[in-house]
Point group: C2
Chain length 212, copies 2
């Protein structure tokens, strides 16, 4: 993707750099996310990263902005009957979503590894996208009284993230070998059991476990 290939087109070049940045972060991880590596991958000089994005920080901010579009609304479903049912659907969907999104995984790993203005922008973008995604699907439902939904969600979302992240690097977590699909089914069932346990007794149907 050098000049000879694509001509002198700033827009195209900027797009190429942004794409290279996302690819580099997703495939090689945040440790290998540097000006040199991105420029190499984009097939242009690193100077352009400084000129067009003001350095790696600006580039990361651009990645963050382009991140919002990744969280597509879950496919239209019959509206949930209760907050518990909604939570179950959302968190199971989040598991699949997150498991399939290497870029989000890398950012999540980055968030817990280091604090820097660079990762702050990405983390904020990811958090907002996730927040919007959940808010959009909520449909006016509110948690039943006596239920601290934000705390419960934080714990469960965190558990999901940890399972996915650990499965990618260590192949499992806390004794669960998550390289095998059948153990992912166990994880989904456990997640469902936890959710149903706290949001009981308002549970009637929905015994189908998506993704299994």
């Amino acid at each position: 993707m050098n000049e000879a290939v694509r001509g002198r087109d700033r827009e195209r070049t900027e797009a190429a750099i942004l794409a290279a940045a996302e690819a580099q972060l997703a495939e090689a991880g945040f440790q290998a996310f540097g000006v040199n590596a991105v420029a190499r991958r984009a097939g242009c000089d690193k100077q352009l990263i400084y000129r067009y994005y003001g350095g790696l920080d600006g580039l990361a901010a651009a990645v963050g902005e382009s991140l919002g579009a990744r969280y597509t609304s879950p496919p239209a479903q019959p509206p949930a009957q209760s907050y518990g049912e909604l939570t179950e659907r959302l968190l199971l969907a989040f598991l699949e979503q997150f498991r399939a999104d290497r870029l989000a995984q890398r950012i999540a790993a980055w968030e817990v590894a280091e604090r820097s203005p660079l990762v702050d922008k990405l983390a904020e973008a990811r958090a907002q996208a996730l927040g919007r995604w959940m808010e959009e699907a909520r449909g006016g439902l509110t948690p039943p009284p006596g239920i601290d939904a934000p705390a419960l969600n934080a714990l469960l979302i965190g558990g999901i993230q940890q399972l996915v992240l650990a499965s990618m690097t260590m192949g499992g977590f806390a004794g669960l070998p998550l390289s095998e699909d059948r153990n992912w089914i166990r994880a989904r069932l456990a997640l469902r059991a936890l959710i149903r346990g706290v949001y009981r007794p308002a549970f009637a149907g929905a015994d189908v476990l998506p993704g299994s």
Copy 2:
């Protein structure tokens, strides 16, 4: 801690290097865990790291071995009446333990950031220590039928880890501002609610929440 200070004493030097390694990893994180940094902190030449530990890998392995002693058994308590009660106690204790152990946090963050023989040794040591710790407290109790304890534990432990790690770097997680102590109480209550939800109905007493 150079030669003039401590004399020529291999044992002492090795101990100094190991201590420096743990301190460096705990305080500065795995990104700053390198031969140069450890040697600087230990006040000796990095050559000694190669001579005595065979490089950074061996040093990491040594850190891992010395890691087992960090997980002290929880203070003797009246034996748990049920597996659910035991789980509640253990996971709440794990939260406090992990929150206070910067070294364990750094290793946990490392585990999800990178796969390398270096982190493998540390991760394995941490996993084994955690496993022993839980096994030791189990006291012959077995999960009730229909309960997938390993999967549940993995999810909940993962959630705890994620909350702690995210609170250290981002100051919160998924909308929970974990810089405030009162929100940590919410997290503990949510954890307890989740556990009690799945292990119901075998719950009678134990309404005191440790650490609040």
